[in-house]
Every structure is written in structure tokens, then in C-alpha cells.
């Protein structure tokens, strides 16, 4: 049973815009363990790209390299043409990469508005002395920031009632949305969503999928998401990259990925890939 047929197809015409994110042989090792092995990866501007793979495939590690939480062992990570590999997270955020977390990491005893305001940190200027004096400039900046924070919360579908509520008291779905709002606060051009629909019911997932497309269409964002829910992945992505055991095993459009033997094997185990045709495989 051949597993070599995983040649990544050339990018489709509609997606071949300039790459906003590109990794070249990005590699991360923990001791002897290779979590990400020489991954080449391209995200075109204003596209929606998904990263999928079985548990432990190295998806979150890859994310953490992109956002600066981990320093790559080798290879390059180019964001908007600039090598950002190994920069501290706050610098990468300032360059325009926003993210959410797999297991929600909101600031629990801060209100929704405050969470978004922290997200705006790198876009605000108020320094120590000027904050103490509360100069007219700082006053104006804070007022505008508050207005914008509330706008972002509305945009992400959160009601006014939760504005001054501690984020720990929000419902699960609202917390997920607040994470997106907070990430949008830093005015990203690339938004990384780490399993955003985990724990949502089918209805909520469907709503969220629409919201992701809307983010791209209305705000011009590029979106890269890690997702396990194949319905979401197939519904929203223009391109999909599949990781397994830290290696990229396939890349292509949803239809191509569904027909890919190696992907089916990675998800269902060897032997399963034999008789499957296009459209049947990896939808579980």
C-alpha cells in the first residue's frame, strides 16, 4: 500500500495572493523529541487556512512557534516578509498576529471590557507618568479605547450585559467569543484560532463558522485555525494542511484532503486507506 502519493498540489489560482505567513523548514525539538519536523507552510493573504491532524501531531507546538511562545530549533518563520522566529510574543503580537487559546485563557477577574483593553495594550501609548497625571492625551486615548472595546464586543456577538462582568462568570460560548474579541483588540492582520469550537454544540459551531468567514470578509483578516470538527474545517477553509507526528503529510483544498490516502491513514489507521474514494474519508 503506497503512502507516497502525498505530493502537495500547487496553490490554486484564487489563493495565490502574496503570502502573509510562510514557514521554511520550521523545526521544534524538545530534547530528543521532534515536535515539528521541517515544516514548509504558506498562508496567503486574506485566506482561511486550517491546520488539522490527530492528537499530538504538533499543531499547537507549531502555533506556539508562530506566536513566539516557543523559539524554533531551526528554520525560518516569515510574517509579512520578516523573520519573526524567536521574537518574544509581545513583539509578534505588535506586528499583527493575534491568537486565541485551546483551553480558554481569559483574565478571569477582569471584566469583558478590561480583557479587550488588555488586548489593545500594544496599540495604546499611555505611559507611567502621563497616566498618573492623566493628561488630556491619555484621557482621550482611554475614552476612545473604551468605545472601541465595546464595539469589538458587540461585533463578536456579546451583549452589553456582560461588559462589566468578570470573564470568569461568562458562559462557555461567551468566553470563546470574548477570546476572539480580545485578540481583535491588538488589531491583528493574521488571527490564529486554536480549536475555537471545542466544546460547542453543532448550532454554536455553525454560528462560529459563519463568524470566521465574516471576520475575513469584513475585516480583511487572514485566519489560520486548528480544528478537530471536520464539519467546521471543511465548511470554512480554503486550504488545509495536515500534520501527523510533527510532519506535514498533506496540503490542499478540502476536497483534495478528503481524498488523500495518507490523511485517511493518519486518521483511521493503515489499511483503511485502500478502497476509499473522494469525498468519503476523513469527515469523522
Amino acid at each position: 500500500m503506497s503512502t507516497e502519493a502525498a505530493e502537495a498540489p500547487a496553490p490554486k489560482a484564487g489563493l495565490s495572493g502574496t503570502a502573509i505567513l510562510e514557514t521554511r523548514a520550521a523545526r521544534k525539538e524538545f530534547g530528543g523529541l521532534v515536535a515539528c519536523s521541517d515544516i514548509d507552510f504558506v498562508v496567503p493573504e486574506r485566506s482561511i487556512v486550517s491546520l488539522i491532524g490527530p492528537n499530538g501531531a504538533g499543531k499547537t507546538t507549531f502555533f506556539n512557534m508562530l506566536t513566539g511562545a516557543y523559539k524554533p530549533t531551526a528554520g525560518e518563520i516569515l510574517f509579512a516578509g520578516r523573520d519573526v522566529g524567536g521574537l518574544p510574543p509581545h513583539r509578534i503580537t505588535k506586528l499583527g498576529v493575534g491568537r486565541t487559546f485551546q483551553n480558554i485563557r481569559l483574565f478571569q477577574t477582569m471584566t469583558s471590557v478590561e480583557n479587550v483593553l488588555v488586548g489593545m495594550h500594544c496599540r495604546l501609548k499611555g505611559g507611567l507618568i502621563r497616566s498618573i497625571l492623566r493628561t488630556p492625551g491619555v484621557r482621550r486615548e482611554e475614552r476612545d479605547a473604551l468605545v472601541r472595546a465595546r464595539e469589538l464586543l458587540r461585533y463578536c456577538g456579546l451583549s452589553e450585559r456582560i461588559d462589566d462582568e468578570y470573564s470568569m462568570n461568562l458562559s462557555y460560548g461567551d468566553q470563546r467569543r470574548l477570546e476572539v474579541a480580545r485578540a481583535l483588540g491588538s488589531e491583528p492582520t493574521l488571527l490564529l484560532l486554536d480549536e475555537p469550537t471545542a466544546g460547542m454544540n453543532p448550532q454554536e459551531s455553525a454560528d462560529f463558522t459563519r463568524f470566521v468567514s465574516q471576520l475575513r470578509d469584513e475585516r480583511g483578516l487572514t485566519i489560520l485555525l486548528i480544528e478537530h470538527d471536520m464539519k467546521v474545517v471543511m465548511g470554512v477553509s480554503e486550504r488545509i494542511t495536515v500534520l501527523d507526528h510533527g510532519e506535514k503529510i498533506a496540503e490542499g483544498s478540502p476536497a483534495e484532503i478528503q481524498a488523500n490516502d495518507r490523511v485517511i491513514e493518519a486518521y483511521l489507521g493503515s489499511g483503511a486507506a485502500g478502497g476509499t474514494g473522494a469525498g468519503s474519508g476523513a469527515t469523522a
Binding site: 511562545a69 503580537t93 496599540r123 507611567l128 497625571l133 470568569m168 483588540g185
Partner: protein, 393 residues
Amino acid sequence: MIDKLPIPRWARRAILPIIIVPLVVLYPEYYTSLGTSQLIPTLSTAVTMTVFVCMAVGLNMVVGYAGLLDLGYVAFYAIGSYVAGWFASTQFASHSIVFGAVGVQSNAIGIHISIWLLLPVAAAMAAAAGVVIGLPTLRLRGDYLALVTLGFGEIIPQVVRNGDNMFGTGFNLTNGVAGITPIDPMGFRYLHGILPFLPDNFLLTPNLDVWFYRVGLLLVAITVFCSIRLRDSRLGRAWVALREDEIAAAAMGVPLMQVKTWAYASGAFFGGAAGCFYGVYQGGAIPDNFKLYISTLLLAMVILGGMGNVWGVCLGAAVLSYLNQQGLGAIGNTINSNFGTNIEITKYEAGLFGLLIVLMMLFRPQGLIPSSRRKAEFDVVKEEHETAGVVVG
């Protein structure tokens, strides 16, 4: 009951300050009429209380806002005091610089700078020290950071204790165990000419503590004001965020090192100013005053009052510094004279404060006046414990 009365919100919020502020400010005018009980804080105790309130509010910026445990805050107090010692005494006898100082001849030996100028200088030097220790150590987290600050809090007193012969060169920086004394007094040297009711020299007023108390209150007011402004600023939000979740804060664009360093520097700033003021009040900078005990006492004040809440910390600091300075001794004497016992209660001071902290942790871990954030946190912990109890039971 009060909730039902038709009083506007701002008025309700103003009630407490309207009562408390005059009581505090006018204390020197009426405290003698409170009776002769030794439990009534003397003015000297009151001055000490203002100093400790300043330092506790400063420490609260580091511990309460940014969540960085600091066990060496006494170092900033020491730095503040020694700045007063260096620049307002005869310590550097080879120089003769007099600038705005009161109570010294214009040709006096040593450096004599006006205390009013030294207060910000001392604060800035303490803040700089905060940055210096901050940069290498703030990469550490939690307990490890606490240990390093503990070390720093020990190093500074050791340096001043042995600083009478720096590196064997014979240069006397700190005058060793004896400390630097006397330090020049405070006074309104220039304003006295325009506004005669402001004394020229506090030491020459009938009750010198009155003016020190007023200046102490001014320092408290400035410290509290700055603390609140910072809490509500972009920086204050970043502090809370990093206390909550460093990784998320960094991912949201908060530069961790910079923000932590600012927390350290601002906390140290007020410790330095308070230390300078206290050095002047005591008339000397003496190594024995800068013990680890002060750091733990300050931390106890923050915890007792309510970490993160300025008003709580003010209350905690006032209560503990009163007990430390006068209250415990007075209580002991009262007990002894009434029951014929012979207990020296001040000997058990550290044990009693320790007991107090243990009791607080058991029954009111969020402090006397908790901040709403801390309260929410503790409520969740409590809930979880109760749920866990149900499961186990």
C-alpha cells in the same frame, strides 16, 4: 437600610471620606482630649503610621497589583533613609555644600540639601535600585522571585552595616553600625517668609510631631493618589493581566519584562520617599532599623488589609504599625496593671503577628477590605472547596 434612602450614589460614596479625612487630618488638634490612656496613639506613633502606610501602599503595587511576591522591600526603605543621610548630614565632611537646608550654617561641612528636594531624589534612587534588581530577577517566577528579593533585602542592610570602609579603600559610605546621624531637620525655609504660619524649622516648633505628621499625611495622599491612578491605567491593567496569566498577557502584546520592571520601580519609588522621610524624622539612618522583620511586617499589612485594595492596605498598615509601635506595649501594660501579671507582651510581637496572619488566612483570606477581584477569586476557591466537600462526603 441605607440602600433604601434616596441618596445619590456619589453622595453615598462621599460619606466615608467626609467623616474619615477630617478625623485623620485634625488628629493633632484633638487627640489630647481623648484621655490619657496609653492606648491612644501618640503623635509620634501617628507619624510612624503614615510612613508605614506609604510603604505598604507602595508594596501593594508590586504584590497586590502585579502579583510579584517581594520579601525584600525593606531595602528601598534603607536606600531612602541613606539618601537623606548622605545629602543632609555631615557624613561627607570633605565637602561643604549647603542648598536650601534648614538649621545649618551656610558654611557647614558635609552636604546639606533641602529635604524637600531629597524626597524625590530618594524615591528615584530607590526606583532605580528596583530596576537594577528587577532586570535580572524578574525572569524568575513566584517562589523563586520571592527568594531573590529576600536575598536583596538582606544584602542592602549588610552593605550599609559594613560600608564604613568600602573595598578597603577607607572610603566611608555608610558609617557602619553606628549609622549616619544626625540628619538635618525639615522646615519651610523659604515659604516661611511668605506664609509665616509655616514653621522655619520643625525642630523648633512647640510640638515637632505635628508638622511631621502633616507632611507624612501629604506623602500618604500623594502615594494613594498615584497608586489609584496607576491601577486604573493601561499599565495597571497590564499588571492585573500578568498576575492572572503571564502567557496570555504576553500573547496579547504585554511586554512582560518591561511591565514587571515598572511595577518594581513604582513600588520602590514610594518606599524610597517614605524611607527618606522616616530617616529625617528619626534623625538618622541606622542599620539596625532595616531588618527582614520590616519586610515581613509590610507584607502582613498588605495581606491583612486586603491585597490589591488601596484602602484596605491603608487600614492594614495603620493597624499593624500602631500595634507594632505602641499598641502591643500599651495593651501589655494595661493587662499587667489590671491583673497583676508581669507579661512583656512586646517580646511575643512576631509570634502574635504570625498568629494574626494565620487566623486571617483561615477566616478571611481576602483581607479586611478586599479588592473586588480578589474577592471574586476567593469566592470561586471557596465554592470549589465546598463542591469538593460534597463529592467527598
